[in-house]
């Protein structure tokens, strides 16, 4: 993959949406935010999204559901998971479906940057 232009953030927590929007916008990315799975899928259908960063624990549709649904629309889209625990079942399963990377909350911004960088190398 050449370049990431547009990032989709999926997190039910307003704070995280603001943080990631601001932090990533400052780095020059176009950032779209969704408060949950359904909203995220709408955006996915509508816009050109290069990478999805999604929280795992969300009501109704959790991270795994987002991964599955997103893969149906965009089978190869890279997905970064954010989670409080890495060993949990659903996280493992999501990773198995090639969700690519798991970020352990609370993470530092440079960890996110490293994660984003890793996709450019692939």
């Amino acid at each position: 993959m050449n370049k990431i232009k547009t990032i989709l953030i999926v997190d039910d927590e307003q704070g995280y949406r603001d943080l990631l929007h601001r932090a990533l916008s400052e780095q020059g990315y176009t950032v779209l935010v969704a408060a949950g799975g359904p909203e995220a899928l709408d955006i996915l259908k509508r816009d050109e999204v290069d990478i999805i960063i999604t929280d795992m624990k969300m009501p109704k549709m959790d991270g795994l559901d987002v991964v599955i649904a997103s893969r149906q629309l965009r089978p190869d889209i890279p997905i970064i998971l954010m989670t409080g625990y890495a060993v949990e079942e659903r996280v493992q399963e999501a990773l198995a479906r090639k969700a690519s990377i798991c970020l352990q909350k609370p993470f530092q911004m440079k960890e996110l940057e490293t994660a984003l960088q890793s996709f450019l190398i692939t």
């Binding site: 927590e13 601001r22 625990y85 060993v87 949990e88 352990q104 909350k105 609370p106």
Partner: protein, 615 residues
């Protein structure tokens, strides 16, 4: 003729026989006898003494000549003796008569107690009414008292023997009873029917003169013969009371033996100054001393191997306590057994009072409760462990709950703080605050991450067979950098060919990292950190992971508390106190144990035992 000349000797023997019988009866202890005969024998004894006196007075008359005062006494002795004899015969006949309808019981019904005084009255009146008071009186006494007595006694003895046959047979009393019965019967005739010559029937015909005419021998000789036979057989019969006494003693001893020697409890009889008067078999067996060494010895020397009585606060002495407080207490003492090993005994002391109510001795009872104590101690330990692990679980849950809640807010704070700090210029007054916020937020994030890792641990997720050394090595790689900067030498002694264990890699790493971090912190001036893995020799089926440091060590008082949640020796802000408690919990979830060996100033050694993976 021979006899007539030596009548005084005859009377001597006659009197002697009865007197001896009387004395024998009265000197024989008969109290509390179960033999009914024992209660009425005194009458026979009284007869023996009084009639013996009578015959000796006869003897005196022959030697010294007639004397009216002697005659008077003689007459009284005669009548009184026959009254006693009759009363004895009446009673023995009655007591041996069963309450069934036969000829015996009908006779017995006439023999009420009133009969004896009635007959005595008749004799008195009859005698007074007669011309010859002495003659008639004594004849009446013979006819109405002595003669029936012989028959009644003979019948009574026979019946008595039959009723007590089993005992009497074992004591071989049969011949004695026969001789006694027959002798009394004959005596009844000879003394009861053959009276001195008188002018009333039957004494006008059947009298002593007739007897001499027929046999040539005075009737007194035969009477004396009967007396000797009676005395001989009665004194032999008296031995049943001796037998009874020894039998009772025997029985009591056997009972004592059975009771005191058959039980497991140790019993000692102590004097007021703690000397042992008596000890049962259980006590003797429970010490390494012989019976001789125990008797007379001090109780505290025998059971406690001490030179003075037990004292508080170690062992309360139940004897002392009884004297002081007046009540019996039960205390647990440590006694020494045959091999000198300690065991627990529950001891109590019971007072023995004399007739005035003062305490003279103590009965000291002790029971081996070692098993019970051991079980109790184990139970207490298990209970404590359970409580501890419950506490841990509760704290773990609390920590996890807090961590989860804090997680997101913290991440947001951290993110914004870093973002802002990145954009601020160094000379901006906001630079310090923002940098500080960033730094502390980073610190918090490490804490929360650790907690979150541990919090998943309790659900026992993600355990798999893994190689201990690999995990240890990856854990150590995380702290290797630290050891270099803090002047700590890292020594790995990882065993070869260790069996795999079933564990969660992440958690195990965290445990080792935590222990290693603690070790490094303890070695403020630097030192050596040794990490060792091996197959346990002391506990088969387990792998040992040992983390040793050369730091300042952990004092003994703290060692027990070190695994408690929130217990920390670090200054405020430098440690959460949660690390070791969570280490403890992880080890527990892996079905293992963790042990600590440490001395202040001599470093610390933590050893984790984890079960080998099966299957």
């Amino acid at each position: 003729m021979f006899f007539a000349r030596h009548l005084d000797i005859v009377f001597l023997i006659y009197g002697l026989a009865f007197v001896i019988m009387g004395i024998a009866i009265f000197t024989q202890p008969r109290r509390e006898s179960v033999f009914r005969l024992g209660h009425i024998l005194w009458l026979l004894g009284a007869f023996g003494l009084t009639h013996g006196a009578n015959e000796w007075l006869d003897m005196l008359t022959i030697i010294k000549g007639r004397n009216s005062s002697i005659d008077l006494i003689r007459w009284f002795c005669l009548v009184i003796s026959f009254v006693f004899l009759f009363e004895f015969s009446r009673r023995i006949f009655r007591i041996t008569t069963q309450p069934i309808n036969n000829w015996k019981s009908s006779i017995a019904s006439y023999l009420s107690w009133r009969l004896t005084p009635a007959l005595a009255g008749i004799i008195l009146i009859g005698g007074l009414a007669a011309t010859d008071f002495w003659q008639t009186g004594s004849a009446l006494a013979r006819y109405f008292l002595a003669f029936p007595s012989g028959i009644l006694i003979a019948s009574g003895f026979r019946a008595y023997y039959c009723q007590e046959r089993s005992v009497m047979e074992s004591l071989r009393m049969k011949s004695n009873f026969i001789i006694a019965g027959v002798s009394f019967l004959v005596y009844g005739f000879l003394a009861g029917l053959v009276a001195p010559k008188g002018n009333f029937f039957p004494a006008n015909w059947l009298n002593t003169d007739l007897f001499i005419q027929l046999t040539g021998i005075p009737v007194q000789v035969f009477r004396a013969g009967c007396a000797v036979a009676v005395a001989w057989s009665i004194t032999r019969i008296l031995t049943i009371f001796n037998w009874e006494i020894t039998d009772k003693i025997q029985h009591a001893l056997e009972m004592n033996e059975r009771i005191t020697q058959g039980i497991n409890e140790s019993i000692m009889l102590l004097t007021l100054d703690f000397r042992i008067l008596w000890a049962n078999k259980a006590l003797i067996n429970s010490t390494h001393l012989s019976q001789k060494e125990i008797l007379g010895n001090f109780c505290y020397r025998v059971t406690h191997h001490m030179d003075q009585p037990c004292q508080l606060p170690h062992n309360a002495c139940p004897v002392t306590e009884m004297i002081r407080a007046g009540k019996t207490i039960k205390v647990i003492h440590t006694h020494y057994d045959k091999e000198g090993k300690e065991f627990y005994a529950e001891v109590a002391a019971y007072p023995v009072y004399d007739k005035q109510g003062a305490i003279t001795q103590f009965v000291h009872i002790s029971r081996d409760v070692t098993n019970k104590m051991k079980t109790e101690i184990e139970l207490n330990q298990t209970r404590e462990q359970l409580m501890q692990s419950e506490k841990m679980a509760a704290v773990g849950q609390l920590a996890a709950g807090v961590a989860h809640e804090i997680n997101n807010p913290l991440g947001i704070i951290l993110g914004f703080a870093q973002s802002a700090a990145k954009r601020i210029k160094e000379d901006d007054p906001l630079a310090l605050p923002l940098k500080s916020i960033e730094r502390e937020a980073v610190r918090c994030s490490y804490l929360v991450r650790n907690l979150l890792v541990f919090s998943r641990a309790r659900k026992n997720e993600g355990q798999e067979p893994l190689d201990v050394n690999t995990t240890v090595n990856s854990a150590l790689s995380m702290i290797e950098a630290q050891t270099k900067t803090r002047n700590v030498e890292l020594v790995r002694e990882l065993g070869d060919g260790l069996s795999r264990i079933s564990a969660n890699n992440n958690q195990l790493q965290q445990v080792i990292v935590n222990l290693a971090n603690n070790a490094i912190d303890a070695m403020t001036e630097g030192g050596t950190l040794t990490v060792k893995t091996l197959l346990s020799g002391t506990r088969p089926g387990y792998v040992e992971i040992m983390v040793r440091d050369t730091g300042k060590g952990i004092p003994k008082e703290i060692q027990k508390k070190i695994f408690e949640p929130f217990f920390t020796t670090k200054e405020v802000g430098k440690g959460t106190g949660l690390g070791l408690s969570l280490v403890y919990e992880i080890v527990g979830n892996h079905r293992g144990t963790i042990e600590l060996e440490s001395e202040e100033g001599k470093g610390a050694e933590f050893t984790i035992f984890l079960p080998v993976h099966r299957g």
